[in-house]
């Protein structure tokens, strides 16, 4: 059991929660969270938003029963978390763009931090789309020279794939697919972070399948990060 340091509503129905302890994890990996005992039954997969020496943080949107319970946690309350799980984003080099949509920004902060401090990365641009209100904008701006935000409309329109070697993206499926399609034939390889309902979170139960060009993959273990061409084939 870990202790909550803080759990603040930073935008409507969106919480930033810091949890005490020394945690490991690569960008794009996730933890399985629960602050309840047996009900609801399953833990909730939430991406690493940030890790510091003595804390880990999560950025999440209240979607249903489980995230409502998470949102009610107060400083000092207890949380059970297991992880880090999943493959995470690969180490990249050259010119990199990060493209987030809505709560999809959650894992991208930790990714931006890692990529921004990598000597292999020549240039890092961040594109974030939100319906109404930007999330953690100042924090992102501290990590890259160019952070462009789109409120309403389509963030993918801002991105020119030919300016990049790699694009990593997390957000609504439609956005990620559009971005991948746009990148076809460009210089950029696109990595997408996929969501599926999960049970075990570690690759043992086969409920989180993503059909890819190379067959069924487990999002919790083989993913959540896949090459766009693997997922949006055919």
């Amino acid at each position: 059991m870990a202790k909550i340091i803080s759990n603040r509503e930073i935008a409507p129905d969106t919480y930033l929660m810091a949890v005490q302890g020394k945690y490991s994890g690569k960008m794009g990996q996730f933890y399985m969270l629960r602050s309840w005992r047996f009900y609801p039954l399953l833990s909730r997969p939430i991406s690493i938003h940030d890790i510091n020496d003595d804390s880990i943080s999560f950025l999440y949107r209240v979607a249903g029963e489980g995230t409502v319970l998470l949102s009610q946690l107060k400083t000092g309350d207890e949380l059970h978390l297991e992880g880090p799980f999943g493959n995470g984003f690969p180490e990249l080099k050259g010119k990199v763009a990060i493209v987030g949509g809505g709560i999809g920004a959650a894992p991208l902060y930790y990714a931006a931090k890692a990529l921004g401090s990598s000597s292999e990365v020549e240039n890092l641009d961040i594109y974030l789309g939100f319906r109404e209100e930007p999330l953690r904008l100042e924090a992102f701006e501290a990590l890259a020279n160019k952070v462009r935000v789109q409120l309403g409309g389509n963030v993918t329109e801002l991105v020119n794939p030919n300016s990049y070697d790699y694009i990593i993206t997390c957000g609504p499926e439609a956005m990620m697919e559009a971005l991948y399609k746009k990148s076809v034939g460009s210089s950029a390889k696109v990595y997408v972070s996929i969501e599926r309902h999960m049970a075990c979170g570690i690759g043992a139960c086969l409920v989180c399948t993503c059909e890819t060009k190379s067959g069924n993959k487990k999002v919790c273990k083989d993913g959540p990060v896949f090459l766009g061409e693997e997922v949006y084939h055919g």
Binding site: F38, H197, A204
Partner: protein, 300 residues
């Protein structure tokens, strides 16, 4: 000190906790999280003769105190299992149940025969998977078809044979009696209960396969009743399964007659839940002065 050892027919287990088929993969993943040699046994993901890619669409749905799954027996096929997964399992000091499903009687027989050439402790004959249209559960519904498949399986292997029955069977007691008559060494029950969930926005079943299998604490009272009914009517040992989440649940299943139990959905609550259960079970036995689970088995 409490002795958790149990004797399941000819097989000795260091404790009564077996991980239920389909919830524990082939052991590797949980093996990276804790010392799974502390477990009594592991039932593999359900295997079929040929590789299966399983069902399309949504495969999991949460319900009140339960989950619905529609994995549809995705598995690498027996051959790949033997090559790629069995060696890892065979390195472990736990009892290994190889869970076998199938479309046709011949599929079952062939798969069982292949496994029986290998080092495995038991065959768990799955005739109760509600998630595959072509077979599986169909065999477990009537007493007649149960008899046919158990007889064929019995003839195909020298390994201890445990039949996993369906709560959707017409008559669970009759099915169990048939297994015993046909020479099964034990019975596992229950598999998931055929059930359903709706996406009211899409106006469709959540599952491409329409129905799915309900597991978890929601079904525990049903599983317990079925295990009790069956234990009163057969003399072969029974593995109780369905919603077991705490050490108290284990005690309940033992008291109604189960020789050992399987933990399925609870693994998803907390990966190390079997260790919590073992600890609780031991403390209970010490406190109650119970030396062997034999003392409380079937006392209800």
């Amino acid at each position: 000190m409490a002795n958790l050892k149990v004797q399941f027919g000819s097989i000795t287990m260091k404790n009564p906790l077996v991980m239920a088929s389909g919830t524990f993969g082939f052991g590797k993943e949980y093996g990276q999280l804790y010392d799974i040699e502390r477990l009594g046994g592991i039932a593999t993901k359900g295997l079929t003769l040929e590789k299966r890619s399983g069902n399309t669409g949504m495969r999991i749905w949460e319900t009140p105190s339960g989950i619905l799954n529609s994995v549809g027996l995705e598995n690498p096929g027996v051959e790949a299992f033997i090559k790629e997964e069995l060696p890892y399992l065979n390195n472990l000091n736990v009892v290994k149940l190889v869970n076998i499903g199938g479309k046709t009687l011949q599929d079952y027989v062939d798969a069982i025969a292949m496994v029986s050439k290998e080092k495995a402790d038991m065959i768990e004959l799955n005739i109760s998977c509600p998630n595959v249209k072509e077979g599986g559960m169909a065999f477990g519904i009537t007493a007649d078809s149960t008899r046919r498949i158990v007889r064929a399986a019995r003839n195909a292997t020298q390994l201890p044979l445990v039949v996993k029955l369906s709560p959707n069977a017409e008559d669970i007691v009759k099915a169990a009696v048939v297994c015993q008559e046909e020479g099964a060494d034990g019975i596992t029950l229950i598999n998931t209960v055929k059930a359903m969930a709706i996406d009211i926005d899409k106006r469709k079943s959540i599952f491409d396969n329409m129905y799915a299998g309900l597991s978890g604490p929601a079904i525990k009272p049903i599983a317990l009743r079925m295990v009790h009914e069956v234990c009163k009517n057969v003399s072969i040992p029974v593995m109780g399964v369905g919603g077991i989440t705490t050490w108290k649940d284990v005690v309940e299943f033992i008291m109604v007659g189960a020789t050992c139990v399987q933990i399925g959905t609870a693994n998803f609550i907390k990966s190390t839940i079997p260790l919590d259960i073992l600890e609780g079970l031991e403390a209970y036995m010490v406190q109650e002065g119970i030396n062997s689970l034999e003392e409380i088995r079937g006392i209800i």
